[in-house]
């Protein structure tokens, strides 16, 4: 890790995003006080994660990547054990109900599905009503449906006024869930901001894809100011430009020239494209 600086505002969901091995978990473990940084300072709720670990444990909830529980521990036993560790806790039964685990309270940990396990870990991270919640790769290995359910739960944590710091290598997750993100690559923060800000800053181009049988369309489209390229595959045209007004001008052009279209969509750049623009390679590599 080198030169990793970011700050998280109270009440927001902040994402550390980057490929596997970029240093997200290391950063998270330093913030959680599980690992000592070689240099630099970390403050969580104005406390030092290492020095004030006792005080922070009461106010920070942690879910760790690749951490499990005893195979044959029951759901309620885990919640009960965790609850016994803190002076002030929320109602464990209500928490299980809220996370959709009520039916599973007597089930062994090993019999839970991946999504249920993660929900249990969220429950354990929330049992002492912490102000800050750290979630490391929460949805890795889950199917899309379970992932969406987890996202709703994380939003629910924010709605209760908590601050969430999470890591993910899924750009879609970062985009849909995080208020702000920091992109980490090879142990460095490459850039930070809201997903929309990052997209505007690094990928200002926009793309319109439309279908038309009008033979004159190509020439009209090319004549639009700000258009860089027009690619044609049969009846499908892909129009690329580099400024925000492109979409409006394409629509105006279609209207003025009475071009009949059978399909029209815009392709907006995503964090995935931002990552590519910033690092020169795809996050999946």
């Amino acid at each position: 890790m080198d030169d990793v600086s970011f700050d998280v505002q109270p009440g927001e969901i902040f994402g550390l995003i980057g490929p596997n091995g970029a240093g997200k978990t290391t950063t998270m473990e330093c913030v959680g006080g599980l690992r000592a940084p070689d240099r630099g300072t970390i403050a969580v709720l104005d406390l030092d994660p290492r020095r004030d670990s006792r005080a922070l444990q009461q106010r920070v909830g942690v879910q760790l990547q690749q951490a499990h529980l005893q195979k044959r521990i029951k759901v309620w036993e885990a919640v009960d054990l965790w609850a016994s560790l803190y002076p002030k806790t929320v109602d464990g039964d209500a928490l299980l109900a809220r996370l959709g685990l009520w039916d599973k309270r007597d089930a062994w940990f090993m019999t839970l599905s991946g999504g249920q396990k993660q929900r249990l870990f969220i429950a354990l991270a929330l049992i002492h009503d912490p102000d800050v919640v750290l979630l490391d790769e929460l949805t890795t290995g889950l199917d899309p449906q379970a992932r969406r359910a987890i996202w709703d739960m994380v939003r629910g944590i924010r709605e209760r006024g908590k601050t969430v710091l999470l890591t993910t290598h899924l750009m879609e997750e970062a985009e849909k869930l995080c208020d702000r993100v920091a992109i980490i690559e090879r142990g460095r923060v490459v850039d930070a901001g809201t997903p929309a800000e990052l997209v505007r800053r690094h990928c200002p181009e926009s793309t319109v894809v439309l279908m038309t049988g009008d033979e004159g369309a190509e020439a009209w489209l090319r004549a639009i100011p700000g258009v860089d390229t027009v690619d044609r595959h049969g009846q499908e045209f892909t129009v690329r430009g580099h400024d925000a007004g492109l979409v409006t001008r394409v629509i105006q052009c279609l209207a003025v020239h009475h071009i009949q279209v059978t399909d029209f969509r815009t392709v907006l750049p995503t964090l995935e494209d931002v990552f590519l623009a910033l690092t020169g390679h795809s996050i999946r590599d």
Binding site: A67, L69, L81, W82
Partner: protein
């Protein structure tokens, strides 16, 4: 402190319940030793001893052997559990709570001690017909000797648990450490029959000391007569605890 103690009691109880839920582990560490003892007592026990005057020596050391063997089994199972917990990230997960490292390990030690005690009691009850215990045997002293020896073996277990790379190796490595030690412990043949250098080594091994202590106490010899054994067991505990506290890995 009170909270830590409550957590220890809770975690110990939980780990006991979890242990009993795994039938194989339970059978392996309680049922098999009991059956084995009854079988061995039938073959080598006092009835056989009185019937023929050529007393099979093994019958005399059976109590010491049983206690040592059960303690070894408990420690091996502890090593396995700790390495499974480490591999699965359970140790790491628990350590991220206010539980604290000592409580987590202490809970497992208590569970193993309780199981060792329970197994020995079960074995005594099951074997009371084939191996009646002489009223002269100082059972209280013997229990203390078992506890003391088990502590020492446990500390060896923690060193093994620190170095095993994965859970798959826990059992074989523990066997590799303990089986040769128990083979030369004097329970099966006198240490003196070994070549001199090997005998000298065998005499300072903790299992030899444990066997000698347990056997001696069972036969009514005093603790003072076994001062050397106590020193070896205590030294093993101090050395191994110091070593494992330096090299123990949580993840």
């Amino acid at each position: 402190m009170a909270r830590q103690l409550r957590a220890l009691v809770k975690l110990t109880w939980l780990e006991l319940k979890i242990f009993v839920r795994e039938p194989l582990g339970f059978i392996g560490s309680v049922a098999i030793p009991v059956l084995l003892f009854v079988g061995l007592a039938r073959a080598f026990g006092p009835r056989v001893m009185t019937a023929s005057r050529s007393v099979p020596a093994f019958g005399q050391v059976l109590p010491a052997f049983s206690a040592l063997f059960i303690a070894m089994g408990a420690v091996t199972s502890l090593v396995t559990i700790i390495s499974i917990y480490r591999e699965g990230g359970i140790l790491k997960r628990l350590r991220a709570t206010p539980l604290g490292a000592p409580v987590i390990l202490a809970a497992h030690v208590v569970v193993k001690l309780l199981l060792t005690a329970a197994t020995l009691v079960a074995l005594t009850l099951a074997g009371r017909r084939v191996y009646p215990i002489d009223p002269a045997v100082p059972l209280g002293s013997f229990a203390v000797a078992v506890l003391f020896t088990t502590w020492s073996i446990l500390s060896i277990g923690f060193v093994i648990a620190s170095i095993v790379p994965t859970a798959r190796f826990a059992q074989p490595i523990a066997a590799l450490v303990f089986y040769p030690m128990i083979a030369v412990s004097g329970l099966f043949f006198p240490v003196d029959v070994l070549p001199a250098p090997a005998a000298a080594l065998a005499r300072v091994l903790p299992l030899t000391a444990g066997a000698s202590l347990l056997n001696g106490i069972w036969k009514g010899e005093g603790w003072l007569a076994h001062g050397g054994d106590v020193v070896i067991l205590a030294a093993t505990f101090v050395l191994c605890t110091a070593l494992s506290s330096r090299v123990f890995r949580w993840e």
